[in-house]
Amino acid sequence: MAPGKPFATALIVIILATASSGASAESARLECSLGFGSYAVPRRWIPLYVRGDKSVDPGRIELRRLDAAGKTLSVETFPYRESARLECPVLMDESCASLAVTLRSGPHVLAESRLRLWDKVFPGHIILHSDMPSAVQRVLSSFLLPEEPVQLVSVKPRDLPGQALDYDAVSVIMMADPGPSLSPSQAEALRAWIAGGGRLVVTGARQGENGVLASIDPSFGSSGTSSFGRGRVTAFRAEASELPRASLARSLEAAVELRQYGREPRLSQGTMFPIEQGSGFPDARSGLPNSPLVILLILWAGAAVAVSFVHKRRLSYLLAVSLACTALAVPVGLYLDRSWQRGAESSVRLLALPGSAGFLAEAGFRLPSSDRKSFIPLGMTAWGLDLGFDVSERGRIAPRETPEWRHESQKSRFSLHSGGESNIRLSAFLPPLVIRDTGLPALFGELALADGKPAPLKRTRQGPLAYFSADDGLWWKWDHYAWRWIESGNCPQEFSSQEEWLRAAASLSGGEGLFFGTDRLRAAPFFLQGGALDEALWAMPAEAVR
């Protein structure tokens, strides 16, 4: 054997082994799809689906929202399961230009995919259909012509989104009855979508438990039109191909009643919590200046220095000054602690959907920029906020850090709306009765300031009264009026149309004082100050009152 042969053989083996290990590390593939038929509607939530083909344990899917310059705006992570399709609602926000989807195992990146958000944009109605013949599709697509087109997207019933937020951009769903094949999450999401104004048309509807409608809501009939909340369900016994052609257009138009895009009175995340009307902090306090503390310290130091120039008994006087200041330290410290905006500002908006279909929620948290307590950049983030909802979702915001939202389950309630330095905005659909017994505080399972001080939820004296004026509508304190109505069953005339809403709100209330109004949804600022969260706001759109 030639002298160099063993070496060459070993070298080849090493190269092959390295190549194969490198190949196996890169062999993971991610399949990502965004929107419906890749179409996205601006300022609406759309579904992002991610599926991987490699078994990774433990693995995480990381979703980074990037701006036009490629800078990461926020990070959202999910646990990864091989071949399980991850559904993640994504908001079509103009500040976000693309998404980076990464499969990680610890620090290792196994696969990455980039998705550009604004490649296929359709600012109009999206109609999902399943197994519809071409004649029906022609009718559907011509609904609003010549004023505006609608976008038809074909989906299989099993591929319908399982999260209510993902129906934000969907106006109509028409499908042949697939039977009771929907998952519970799909049924719940569809129910909420219909309650908020969605239009569902089912052909070949089957009766009772054999049909899809019963799985969504038992009150949906298998023929005719049923109103539910703001939406409606129309069921045709005949299959789509058997519908009379002569009256097809009229029948479907009557079933759908599609209006010009943007004018439909829907209750969805995108319409009720528009991007520009963010979880504002309009009355946010910028924090008291440092002056009270500075004055106190100057007085203390001044007294000590002055005493040091006294001729006799200096030490005694100094100790007396110190002891007097010690006695004052605790009450002064408590006063400053109460006064300072040391915590995070939180703003919560909740909309009770009609038909007790659930609640649309939005929560925003922000660390105030005028945080005087980090005046000296000691490299230690004095203030950050650790959020925890329902122990399966965690987030963190802190100055100079990218906000993160971490899901411990692929099926999660809260989705990351947007975020930036020191702020995070979350959207959620909460099914009815999710926190009935424990009330609002259970919505925020765990809030802790990053300095470790717990943020127990408690009421404070400061409420949203100062923020809302009489022009905004009618404001009554819940526990004085509404609770009595529920108990007595005698709702005053002017609120009779709201009774259903109030009952729905009651299911989320622990009976504490809550404020509600009849205006278009407005945010009420709440403050986490030393751990305090003010009352929540229940409101409904003015249109519902009229």
Partner: protein
């Protein structure tokens, strides 16, 4: 021991202590004002004051000073003299600590520093005071002609080497104070003070034979 203790106390309480206390309060007030009573900022300020005070109390026995003469020619056994020195120094440090109590309490209330955290921080500061006292004391006795040069060097080496060498970081008060105020839950925080105390006691124990030797040399 008592006479030395009383003499030391009188010497300090009359003139020096009011100024050092007032100065310490002024420093803490300044740091508190610019940092909004930030725990780490104040604990650093207290730590450096402790180290400085220990050095100031200990590094006074170089050649030609009255303190050296008094110490070497006192009619006390070396052990009792050293004990008296230690007790007097502790008393002086305690008075300085009392003077800092207002702002420490304020800090604890504002920033939610627990009693345990405050206690650990104070114990680290006190232990650091003890170490610098011991370093100053022994170096000024042993190397009286250089007026604290080697003692200062030893002090700097203590802080630098314990920061640089991983396993030795438990003995670095700057790092341990950081961990303490960050509520990191690190076990090394609780070990710092005992380790520093042990080192200081070992150094001070060395001073007894050193004093005996110096007295013998001076008699000769």
């Amino acid at each position: 021991m008592i006479p030395y203790l009383v003499a030391e106390w009188r010497e300090w309480s009359k003139d020096r202590m009011p100024r050092t206390i007032a100065g310490g309060i002024a420093v803490m007030a300044f740091v508190g004002a610019v940092s909004s009573a930030h725990p780490y900022a104040l604990s650093l300020a207290l730590l450096f004051q402790s180290i400085w005070l220990g050095w100031y109390l200990g590094n006074r026995y170089w050649r030609g000073t009255l303190s050296r003469s008094k110490f070497l020619y006192a009619k006390l056994s070396p052990g009792r003299a050293v004990a008296g020195k230690i007790v007097a120094s502790i008393a002086i440090a305690a008075v300085h600590a009392i003077a800092s109590t207002p702002i420490l309490l304020l800090m604890a209330v504002l920033w939610g520093v627990s009693a345990a955290g405050l206690f650990l921080c104070l114990s680290i500061c006190f232990a650091s005071f003890f170490v610098s006292l011991a370093l100053g004391f022994v170096s000024s006795l042993a190397l009286p002609s250089v007026e604290g040069f080697f003692g200062t060097l030893a002090l700097a080496l203590w802080l630098i080497l314990t920061a640089a060498i991983g396993p030795a970081r438990t003995a670095n008060p700057l790092i341990q104070t950081w961990l303490c105020m960050n509520k990191s839950g690190s076990a090394s925080v609780a070990l710092c003070a005992p380790i520093l105390f042990a080192c200081a006691c070992a150094l001070l124990a060395l001073s007894v034979p050193l004093i005996r030797r110096l007295r013998m040399d001076s008699h000769e």
